[in-house]
Symmetry: C2
Subunit: 110 residues, 2 copies
Amino acid sequence: MGVTKTEIFTEQQNRLADLAKAFAHPARVAILQLLAQKKACVCGDLVDELPLAQATVSQHLKELKRIGIIQGDINPPRVCYCINETVWEEARQAFGSLLDTFAVTTTGCC
Amino acid sequence: MGVTKTEIFTEQQNRLADLAKAFAHPARVAILQLLAQKKACVCGDLVDELPLAQATVSQHLKELKRIGIIQGDINPPRVCYCINETVWEEARQAFGSLLDTFAVTTTGCC
DNA sequence: TACATTCATCGCAATATTACGATGTATTTT
DNA sequence: AAAATACATCGTAATATTGCGATGAATGTA
């Protein structure tokens, strides 16, 4: 159906899946890398850095904002985007704790 | 179009996006949590643990195998699934290094 | 051999995602 | 006021994803 049955999973699982979506497209990875590497906000040059149409970049930015991992502050005539530190940290912990689960209890099976 | 322009991004970006897809659906998060928490392989009970049809679970397992993060060892009449440690570690480093990029250089902008 | 068990795959329907041109909305500049 | 700049949104087309019933393939069991 293309529709995810979110109601049958835990809040935590749905949230982690949503956070993962932020990284689940190379264009969004590129955007997040740019924002994370710069020490300041990126104001507008995002479209220039990516070989995608302005409308497409805007759509990816919208999705990242929906997830909450970035924020856009209007600073006419431009908009300044930057990482939302709180959500970034949330992602760090969410991925970290899941990915560390295995690292410690590993007991080579199969 | 629904088709990602993978050719315009780096190998690294495409790989990270692919690894993220493993976590980008709550059912796959649930599967990976089960596999990571158990100390041994999970042989077949996966369908019982999830409120999804067998065909659907099988499809998610196929996607996880394509990404490489799990492996399925045939052990008739069952198949034993477990985390692929190498790829799991790859994901840990990939997410870790990106998510840590910001943590150290943070300089509150906006 | 016939049957049951376990899992993969096929085929379908519904929805989601990706991409982009065109257009709309503010705001600044001339 | 008119034009330019920067970005969002709309509409559309193409492809991908999600989910499931039905069916197929492989192995073990009666």
